[in-house]
């Protein structure tokens, strides 16, 4: 059982409106050091918007966000220094190599980073001289995590990190994420993959229509559902198709 630390992120009654619609409608939660905290929900639930508000990418209409003791709404610049972010839809400069990009991003935090060490963390050392466009989907995701680690952040935000990846790459990324946490980082992750949330998260908040409708460790939620009389409809099989797939194609990740 991981030892969790003090609260590093506190969100109180966060509200963000677009036009007349509240994309985030009074969301509150807290995350402790070394936790992997997941935000789950269908598309349009407000997960990404919530994250963007905390990451200082969006202005907030109401509520309070404290990160590492800093008020995100008024001390955005200081907050940027201590967070690492992997954005869902974003990209990196075209004609620079992975190593050059990591060095450049390091400079943005006033740090001299060793790109090869960072690339080792995500097992991309052999691609140090390639450009991002030349990487496969899984490799791009791994690189953006490396870029999010450049400043040795206190909290890392991952927005749907395994969307679009094949089973091997997903599992591999899960391993990377767990390793990062074991090195002392706190991770906030959004996802709509249930198995990912079960596998990775210490606690999960389920969002829908801008509100958090449940928040607890995954196993507690499952226990509560079963205790309420729920039973799965089908007989639980001993193996799934994914198990077949992995047993046939193996666990080694395939990079082009």
């Amino acid at each position: 059982m991981t030892e969790y630390g003090e609260i590093v992120l506190q969100v109180d009654d966060l509200v963000k409106r677009y036009g007349g619609v509240a994309a985030v409608d009074g969301v509150s939660f807290s995350v402790r050091a070394r936790e992997i905290f997941g935000i789950l929900g269908p598309n349009g639930a407000g997960k990404t918007t919530t994250l963007e508000c905390i990451e200082t990418l969006r202005t907030v209409d109401a509520g309070k966000i404290l990160l590492g003791g800093l008020d995100v709404r008024t001390q955005a610049h200081e907050v940027k220094r201590i967070i690492g972010v992997q954005l869902q839809s974003s990209s990196f400069f075209d004609k620079l190599s992975l190593a050059e990009l990591l060095v450049l991003f390091g400079e943005m935090y006033g740090r001299r980073v060793d790109p090869l060490t960072l690339l080792d963390e995500v097992e991309l050392r052999d691609r140090a001289r390639s450009q991002v466009a030349q990487l496969s989907g899984g490799q791009k995701q791994r690189f953006s995590i490396a870029a999010a680690l450049v400043n040795d952040p206190v909290v890392i935000f991952l927005d749907e990190p395994t969307t679009g990846l094949d089973p091997q790459a997903r599992r591999h990324l899960w391993g990377v994420i767990k390793r990062i946490r074991s090195e002392g980082k706190t991770i906030v992750i959004t996802t709509h993959y249930m198995d990912e949330a079960e596998e990775l998260c210490d606690r999960v908040a389920i969002m829908d229509a801008g509100k958090i409708i449940a928040m607890a460790p995954p196993h507690e939620m499952i226990d509560a559902l079963v205790a309420g009389g729920f039973r799965k409809e089908k007989v639980e099989r001993l193996a799934s198709l994914e198990d077949v797939f992995l047993s046939l194609t193996g666990h080694t990740i395939r990079d082009e």
């Binding site: 990451e55 990418l57 990196f92 400069f93 943005m108 935090y109």
Partner: protein
């Protein structure tokens, strides 16, 4: 067969549902025709005659008679000014009406022209002038003395079209680099989310903008050095200017157009939006700022308005320095014009530029 027709129809629907399509296929060609219609290309066949009237009222009648000759494109000025223009090739002939001239009097007139470089123009001009004077003499009273026009050779600098064109092209490339380079570059960065990724780091937006501006200025200066170098070495460019002044004008012009580029990048979400707007700004200037042909043939109102275009200031300034060896003080009007435009374009850019 039907499928070909259906595909054609579908393509037409898709084409015309883009707003830009209407603008560029229908409105724009119309605009070009109208703009170019202003330029009096017929003027290119006439003789540019400068008249220096040192006889005051006594020369007025002669002056109006000369103006009525359709072959002549007449401009009046002081001796120094007109002779300078003759040297530059802006005049084909300069006629001097001396201070002692009277209708039918003894004083003759002198016309100056570069007989070597422009033999037809000078000779033709001299003949037409003489004819006009003779007609005036006959129409007055018989026996009135014939006033003679003597054509004197004048060595102009034999400037060619490249001397006119190269500074114009230089200014054009600065404009294109500033507007298109920045606008397209930033819109692509914006659209692909590259700027967003930067925004979560502590860097100040200004750091990035300054870096981009510096990079483009350096590239523009390289462009200028290469173009002038090639012009002088291979194209017989009569370059007599101060290279430092050339760079100064280039930088001032670049700042103006970089500002426009940032403004466009701020209000556009994709390359499809940028292109028509960028063209809307650059094409009228390319047509009317004296890049490809001289502005002397433009009608008065158009000429006055277009003289305020930033590209006009830049092209005129570069041309004066490169070809006429103008000094810092002599291009002060252009420098001031570019500075004012620079301030305007930067203010607008700051207002309009958006990261997302």
């Amino acid at each position: 067969m039907r499928i070909k027709w259906m595909l054609t129809l579908a393509s037409m629907k898709m084409f015309f549902r883009q707003r830009e399509a209407i603008l560029w296929t229908l409105l724009f060609p119309l605009l070009v025709v109208v703009l170019f219609g202003f330029v009096k290309f017929n003027g290119l066949g006439t003789i540019d005659m400068g008249v220096v009237n040192e006889a005051g009222p006594a020369g007025e009648e002669l002056l109006s008679r000369i103006r009525s000759v359709t072959t002549f494109e007449v401009a009046e000025g002081t001796r120094d000014d007109e002779m300078a223009r003759l040297a530059k090739g802006e005049r084909d002939l300069v006629l001097v009406i001396p201070s002692g001239y009277t209708q039918g009097g003894a004083a003759g007139l002198t016309a100056y022209g570069d007989v070597e470089a422009k033999p037809q123009m000078t000779q033709l001009g001299g003949l037409v002038l003489q004819r006009e004077l003779d007609e005036a003499a006959f129409a007055g009273a018989p026996g009135l003395r014939r006033t003679l026009v003597t054509t004197l050779p004048f060595k102009s600098r034999n400037l060619t079209y490249i001397d006119f064109l190269l500074p114009g092209i230089l200014s054009m490339s600065i404009m294109q680099a500033g507007i298109f380079g920045v606008a397209f570059g930033f819109v692509t960065l914006k659209k692909r989310g590259i700027l967003r990724r930067l925004w979560v780091t502590p860097i100040r937006p200004n750091d990035f903008i300054i870096a981009q501006v510096a990079m483009r200025l350096i590239v523009i200066m390289m462009q200028m050095a290469i173009m002038v170098g090639v012009g002088v070495l291979f194209l017989h460019l009569h370059f007599i200017g101060n290279m430092a002044l050339i760079f100064l004008l280039g930088v001032l012009g670049a700042v103006v157009f970089l500002g426009f580029g940032f403004s466009l990048a701020g209000i556009s979400k994709s390359e499809d939006q940028v292109a028509p707007l960028a063209n809307l700004i650059t094409l009228p200037m390319l047509a009317l700022s004296g890049v490809f042909f001289s502005r002397t043939n433009l009608p008065g109102f158009v000429r006055s308005v277009t003289s305020l275009f930033p590209l006009t200031y830049l092209a005129d300034g570069l041309r004066s320095v490169a070809i006429d060896g103008a000094s810092f003080m002599q291009v002060m009007p252009q420098i001031l014009g570019l500075l004012i435009w620079g301030v305007v374009s930067c203010v607008v850019a700051v207002r309009l530029f958006r990261w997302e």
